[in-house]
Symmetry: C2
Subunit: 199 residues, 2 copies
């Protein structure tokens, strides 16, 4: 059976990653969405193993110590991380894994596993990203400006990603990501080792 591959979907906040990923999963059972572990307590309605793997800080630190995370970070006092275990199990089952992570997290994953395919999602323009962040209406203008300037900094790293997808048309963006995933399974080196012995 064909093994799965891992794909990072990264990009600035507000770029529409969530919508893209939701669309990407429609009708697909051969994909696995990596669920993060966190020390944050569950909110009402959140399900362990679905929304997050809820673990204690002691467990989290223990996982860090035995290098059980692909990446991890602290946000406002809580730890968040991508456990290797579920990612590896999914790939063994033949599922492709989607990691929806921050640009910082993507760097950590890349250092540990350079074979992970990195896809950067860019906005059609900075003006459009500003509009998207503003019409969310949940944040004050100052915070929007801060996010924008951080996004511009993060975008400088997009050049070093494997692929760059522009989200100005949802269908097209999803189609491009599907093409990227299909193409990556055709990479000659790995496929050669797979088929040559049986040919």
């Amino acid at each position: 059976m064909r093994k799965g591959k891992t794909f990072i979907i990264a990009g600035p906040s507000g770029v529409g990653k969530g919508t893209i990923i939701k669309k990407l999963f429609e009708g697909r059972s051969d994909l696995y969405f990596s669920v993060s572990a966190t020390t944050r307590p569950p909110r009402p309605g959140e399900v362990d193993g679905v929304d997050y793997h809820f673990i204690t800080r002691e467990q989290f630190v223990e996982w860090i110590n035995r290098n059980a995370f692909l990446e991890h970070a602290e946000f406002v006092g809580n730890l968040y991380g991508t456990p290797k275990k579920y990612v590896d199990e999914a790939m063994e089952r033949g599922q492709d894994v989607i990691l929806d992570i921050e640009v910082q997290g993507a760097e950590q994953v890349h250092r540990q596993r350079p074979e992970v395919v990195r896809i950067f999602i860019a906005p059609p323009s900075w003006a459009e990203l500003e509009r998207r962040l503003t019409t969310r209406g949940t944040e004050d203008p100052e915070k929007v400006q801060k996010r924008l300037s951080r996004s511009r900094e993060e975008f400088l790293l997009a050049r070093y990603y494997d692929y760059l997808v522009i989200n100005n048309d949802l269908e097209k963006a999803v189609e491009e990501i599907r093409a990227i995933m299909a193409a990556e399974h055709c990479r000659a080196g790995e496929r050669y080792d797979e088929i040559a012995p049986a040919l």
Copy 2:
């Protein structure tokens, strides 16, 4: 406008490249099939510029001297080559270019233009390739065996190609090549340079 890219479709004789390429072009005006130049005289019904660019040996040698070929070779006394001019013009028009060439020719193209994407088409098995070569019925068993052993040698190079597509299902093979072509247009480095200034 988005510039086109060049894709080499290479693989052993009898693997079904011709059928794949025909299918690939169905309903697509954004693709350009590279027409070879040759010193062989036209056969009845062959059209200059469609089947081949028919040129004299003097012209051919002159083109070699000014490095106007991506690759060229001699077969049974006639010269065959891929002129750069038409390939480059098509890419400038925004068309992707398909080169249907021998494994040897692919090596020449790769040396001149490492950015050209190389796709190797493999048979489902050597037994199946033998069957396909035999049921063509045009060649004696000895020639079939010679071709087979040459194919096995050429396959050793498939590992170093960008992509490897197995032709056991025509539709699937064509779909994979389409995905590869779409994915290659999403490569981060080039796309970054394209979009960053306008963002």
